[in-house]
Amino acid sequence: MAKQKPRTVPLQVSTEESYSYNRHVLEYIHQAAERGLYDIRGLGAKRKMPTFDDLVFLTASLSRYPLEGYREKCVTKTVLGTRFAKKPIELKIPIMVAGMSFGALSGRAKEAIGRAATALGTSTTTGDGGMTAEERESSKTLIYQCLPSRYGFNPDDLRKADAIEVVIGQGAKPGGGGMLLGQKISARVARMRTLPEGIDQRSACRHPDWTGPDDLTIKINELREITGWRVPIFIKFGATRVKNDVKLAVKAGADVIVIDGMQGGTAATQQVFIEHAGIPTIAAVRQAVDALEEMDMVGKVQLIISGGIRTGADVAKAIALGADAVAIGQGVLMALGCNGSYALDGKKHRDVTKDYLALGVRPGTCHHCHTGKCPVGVTTQNDDLALRLDPAEGAHRLKNYFNVLSMELATLARACGKSNVHHMEPEDLVALTVEAAAMARVPLAGTNWIPGLGGK
């Protein structure tokens, strides 16, 4: 009998993956080794984290009285900037469009957004790169950002704005500056930003003319002097040390504070920034409200929350926790076709899956706004691609989306017995997870226990 050889081929291929060195980490290391460049991408954090999904409403029953869902009125009107401005902003719904630049977005996408916002009675916001004549024309209420780069920033547009938003940071990259890669620095974008065409623009992360909160106070007064104290001044930052930042911003003289949680999106920044900086939106709201309460500024300084607000339930929960309004960026892009498989060109609705594949993604996994090759023509400066979005169709869809959000918001408010969405309160909420209970500071469902505060 021949001697048996030792077995060298395993019975089956191993499926034992490492937790620490899983496929994502391997891909990260392989790509870093191959290219010597870190990853840049668009949209927001994709990691799992506590969100508004971890909260539920305690709607009315016997101990509370609901409003008739389809008959009784529920007010959604929202006023922002009542502290110092002669002309506060009045919105029909507490849902705004977050700041997105012409440059990051195509002119047609900006136009669709402006038209929808105007029809809805809400606002839009400019971005890094200044105000275009088209967006001023299409948006009834337009908020003008004052960013560290000051690209295209000028007193004429400042005076045309309905509010000014001093941007200190954003949720996707708190502490980082804007970025627009060469593919998107078209001739017009370059001209607006006084940059050479096609360069990789990496904006400053600090303002050029002030550094700390004391200077900011004077800067805000300068903006007020230039605009005759007419329009509200917002201060926006990414959610990190929220409580301290809110207090400093209030002290600096803000009318409105905008806080962008870590799920907030961007058109381009380092992946490491998107996933590893800032705190979740649900934690940020609570800290901001705490700061306003401690300063006795609730109702005097308004609070806008953004970063991963997707649904009517998200809006309702943010407002119940104390926000006066929310701002949406990524959801707006998605309403305009982002990550959908066909182009919303108003005509043929051609399937564009192959263009996603060319970017190495599928509809549903795209985050390639930084490439300028958006398959649905939303975040591009390429004229042919931009034609894939029809502004009228885009506006129609965005209007639908925001209408759904405000109807859902009112549905929940009525069920909580509130005739005004702004009357919702943290007491209307409980948490499904210990983490969410601790962050939002509402009890874990079925208990009176708030981690850190006690109760049973």
């Binding site: 400042l158 005076r159 050029p208 003319d209 004077i218 104290w229």
Partner: protein, 238 residues
């Protein structure tokens, strides 16, 4: 020329606003809405106040008679503002056109993000002079502090004295001329030979600033354009 004569004709009618009697708000309100082109306005007793004469958009002359605070003549258009004293941070910030002249010294961030027009500091300017400039021309009679012309995109910075550390860091298309010593250049800034156009530009700007110096004595600093595109080979330059 037309505007020069006009303002000269009206020179007799000087309006005097006294900051001890009027608030900054009232002074700016007057300058925004109640002056006609060609007018001359004096602001007496500025007393270190911030935000004087900001957001002007008129063909007028404004004289601030003393020291003033932050953001003086910020976002200026068309007006010619002269400060007969020293100023705090960010004088003439984001200036679009017209001119701002500081007879004394200017603190940090002079002419920050200026898009056009002319800013003259007869004394010294502090750090970050001309930061993020986007087309403004700046002439400093004395020296400038560190990181001046940081990320300067367009326009010209003329320094008749010395420049502090990291001059012109991350420069784009703006050009810097320095007559004295440069402590150090920032990332992507390099010294280049003076050409004919540099001569003409310097002669013009020194003339406008009323400074009598020889353009030949200046060095030119401009962008090496190595950082225009993003890649890891220049990692150490940042």
């Amino acid at each position: 020329m037309a505007s020069l004569t006009r303002s000269r004709e009206k020179q007799q009618q000087v309006v005097r606003l006294d900051q001890e009697k009027l608030s900054v708000r009232e002074i700016n309100e007057y300058l925004h809405h109640r002056v006609r082109d060609g007018a001359r306005v004096e602001i007496a007793n500025p007393d270190g106040q911030h935000n004087l004469a900001v957001g002007l958009d008129a063909d007028i002359d404004v004289d601030i008679l003393g020291h003033a605070g932050y953001y003086i003549a910020g976002m200026n258009k068309r007006a010619r503002v002269t400060i007969h004293g020293s100023v705090g941070w960010s004088v003439g910030e984001n200036i679009m056109s017209g001119s701002v002249r500081v007879k004394g010294n200017a603190s940090e961030c002079a002419a920050a993000s200026g898009h056009g027009g002319l800013v003259v500091v007869e004394g010294d300017a502090s750090s970050r002079c001309g930061i993020s400039m986007k087309g403004v021309d700046i002439v400093v009679g004395g020296s400038v502090g560190h990181v001046s012309a940081f990320m300067a995109q367009a326009g010209t910075l003329v320094v008749c004295g010395d420049a502090g550390p990291a001059l012109g860091d991350s420069l784009y298309e703006a050009v810097i001329y320095v007559r004295g010593k440069v402590h150090s250049l920032g990332a992507d800034a390099r010294e280049e030979a003076l050409g004919k156009t540099d001569h003409a530009k310097l002669t013009d700007l020194l003339g406008k600033a009323g400074i009598d110096l020889n353009p030949k004595d200046f060095k030119r600093i401009a962008s090496a354009r190595k950082l225009y595109h993003w890649n890891s080979d220049h990692q150490d330059d940042y």
